[in-house]
């Protein structure tokens, strides 16, 4: 056994810190919360406004535009029907708006951080352990303080999702930028590219397939968080899963679960299709 005399707890310190944050920074967290909520509600209203067939039509068109194949287009357009048939369309749209908000925020912060990580060697040293922590820290550990800071509902759900979904886009952006062939970079510099031009015209376009793979991963991660997020009061498909678990209604849980999977498959194929468009043409 580890000797008891060597034990030391940081728990009281962390507790005090969170308490202090809640008390002293309440106005700040309230305004952040209000900002996120505004984005979220805007997206939610927009999705609610769209009739179901517009969304299915959008899925079909995007898949057709990126693959030009009949079979995947038809299958991917039919899959969302399942959600409607199960009577879960409204909840799915709420989930989608949480996911969209989290993904938009993740890209907004993640892509610049990824660039920073690739450009400045010290940044990687600091960011890497933070990213590891974000991905492995059990989500309930930060869900509780998030709730204390931002209240119940969708905002802490978005933030919890963000924490979980942010690392892949940062990592894959940095990876993509580092993998740009040095011969291409060298030629650009030789023709008088400034550091910014090099980044904008050469490195980011060449890293785009990797960056979009990060976007795809981030979206998948965000979807995986929806059930957990529902535990802090975010409505959506996760709430349905939670309800049926509580009532041991296996069938109802299955319907909601299938709906999450359907969303994941559709979003995955769409983002992958878009990513393919960005790959440099071969042969």
């Amino acid at each position: 056994m580890f000797p008891e005399s060597l034990q030391y707890h940081i728990a009281p310190g962390v507790n005090h810190f969170v308490d202090w944050l809640v008390v002293s920074f309440a106005p700040f967290f309230d305004s952040v919360s209000a900002g996120i909520l505004k984005v979220l509600l805007g997206i939610n209203d927009f999705l609610d406004m769209l009739p179901w067939w517009v969304i299915i039509g959008f899925v079909a068109l995007t898949v057709w535009g990126t693959t030009k194949k009949i079979f995947p287009t038809v299958v991917l357009a039919l899959l969302p029907f399942l959600i409607g048939i199960f009577g879960l369309w409204g909840l799915a749209m709420e989930t989608l708006s949480v996911v969209c908000t989290a993904v938009i925020l993740a890209l907004f912060f993640g892509i610049p951080l990824g660039v920073l990580m690739a450009e400045i060697s010290g940044a990687a040293l600091v960011l890497k352990p933070v990213l590891d922590a974000m991905q492995t820290m059990p989500s309930f550990v930060y869900l509780i303080p998030a709730m204390m800071l931002f209240g119940l509902g969708k905002v802490p759900a978005v933030l919890a999702t963000l924490i979980y979904a942010l690392p892949p886009v940062i990592r894959l952006t940095a990876l993509g930028l580092r993998q740009v062939p040095s011969a291409v970079e060298e030629a650009a510099v030789a023709y008088g590219a400034t550091r910014w031009q090099l980044l904008r015209d050469v490195r980011i376009p060449l890293a785009m397939p990797s960056i979009l793979a990060g976007v795809n991963q981030t979206t998948m991660m965000a979807l995986a968080m929806v059930v957990v997020a529902s535990m802090i009061g975010a409505r959506g498909l996760g709430q349905e899963v939670l309800l049926s678990i509580n009532r041991i209604d296996v069938g109802r849980g299955f319907e909601a679960g299938v709906s999450v999977v359907v969303m994941a498959i559709v979003i995955d194929r769409i983002t992958q299709g878009v990513a393919k468009k960005w790959e440099p043409p071969k042969g």
Partner: protein, 293 residues
């Protein structure tokens, strides 16, 4: 002073040094160059790579100057020092009278945009852009409009014989065609100096010859100053007005290709040119036989 010298020098290199650190732990500054003991110690230091050692040379305007040497002799490092793609450890590089080694970053960018254009062995084309966009690349970097760039690019693409390929991506072109794009990209800039780093080394012999001929034809009308790196002696003999032979970072001989073939300064150069001499001798003997017979 020769006639060439009196009309000025397009490129002037004085006592140029480049010392790399293999482990990237050290950065060797100009101060080591002033300390002969330290310099000698670095020669035997596993960490230090003395890629370019005390190189001085000049190139006249309109001249095709060849740097020849085996791989690892420092010729690629040398050509990169001319536009500071590689930062020299010490020494001076002057291009058209301007001291490149003293330029600040923005002057350096302006210099690269106007004064020199480089062609690379591995092309360095942008894979996500078409032939047209690749040729426009440098013009767009220096802020020329799309319309003007396209017009100039069309002209350059025509010059290298790639009309009709404007909308293709580099991946769908052969090696020889890719290098034509690389050459068009450098011509379009209109800079007086062309730096070519083994531009034809990766190509098969027939295509190589074709592109050499093409370069000579273009040079007839353009009269640019060309600084050309190669490890291929026959290429050097075909293209070069003068050449320098490098070995282990030092220039061991400078002269016209004929001088170097007929009068090699040491064993190393002699071995380098041996093949070529044998062929020449054989041709001469045959001609003599023919004349006698």
């Amino acid at each position: 002073m020769t006639a060439v010298e009196s009309v000025g020098r397009a490129i002037e290199v004085e006592n140029l040094w480049k010392i790399y650190s293999r482990t990237k732990k050290n950065r060797y500054g100009a101060e080591v160059l002033h300390d002969p003991q330290r310099l000698e110690a670095l020669e035997n230091d596993d960490d230090a790579v003395l890629a370019v050692k005390d190189v001085s040379l000049w190139v006249a305007p309109g001249e095709t100057f060849i740097i020849m040497g085996l791989s690892g002799s420092g010729k690629s490092t040398l050509i990169r020092c001319l536009l500071r793609l590689v930062e020299p450890t010490g020494g001076i590089v002057k291009v058209n009278g301007e001291d490149v080694t003293a330029m600040n970053p923005s002057e350096l960018v302006a210099f690269r945009r106007r004064q020199v254009s480089m062609v690379f062995q591995h092309y360095g084309l942008l894979p996500h852009r078409t032939v047209m966009e690749n040729v426009c690349f440098g013009l767009r970097l220096r802020g020329e409009t799309k319309a003007v760039s396209r017009e100039k690019a069309f002209e350059a693409i025509r010059k290298v014989g790639l009309e009709g390929w404007e909308t293709y991506h580099p991946a769908s072109l052969s090696g020889g065609m890719r290098q034509r794009v690389g050459i068009a990209r450098s011509l379009v800039m209109g800079s007086p100096i062309l730096l070519m780093d083994e531009p034809f080394s990766g190509l098969d012999p027939l295509i190589r010859r074709e592109l050499q001929d093409e370069l000579m034809r273009l040079q007839e009308e353009m009269k640019k100053t060309i600084f050309f790196v190669t490890h291929d002696l026959s290429e050097a003999l075909r293209l070069g007005d003068r050449m320098a032979v490098m070995r282990d970072g030092r220039v061991v001989q400078v002269g016209t290709p004929e001088d170097i073939v007929s009068d090699p300064v040491d064993d190393y150069v002699a071995r380098f040119v041996q093949d070529e001499r044998e062929q020449l001798n054989r041709a001469e003997r045959r001609m003599a036989n023919k004349a006698a017979g």
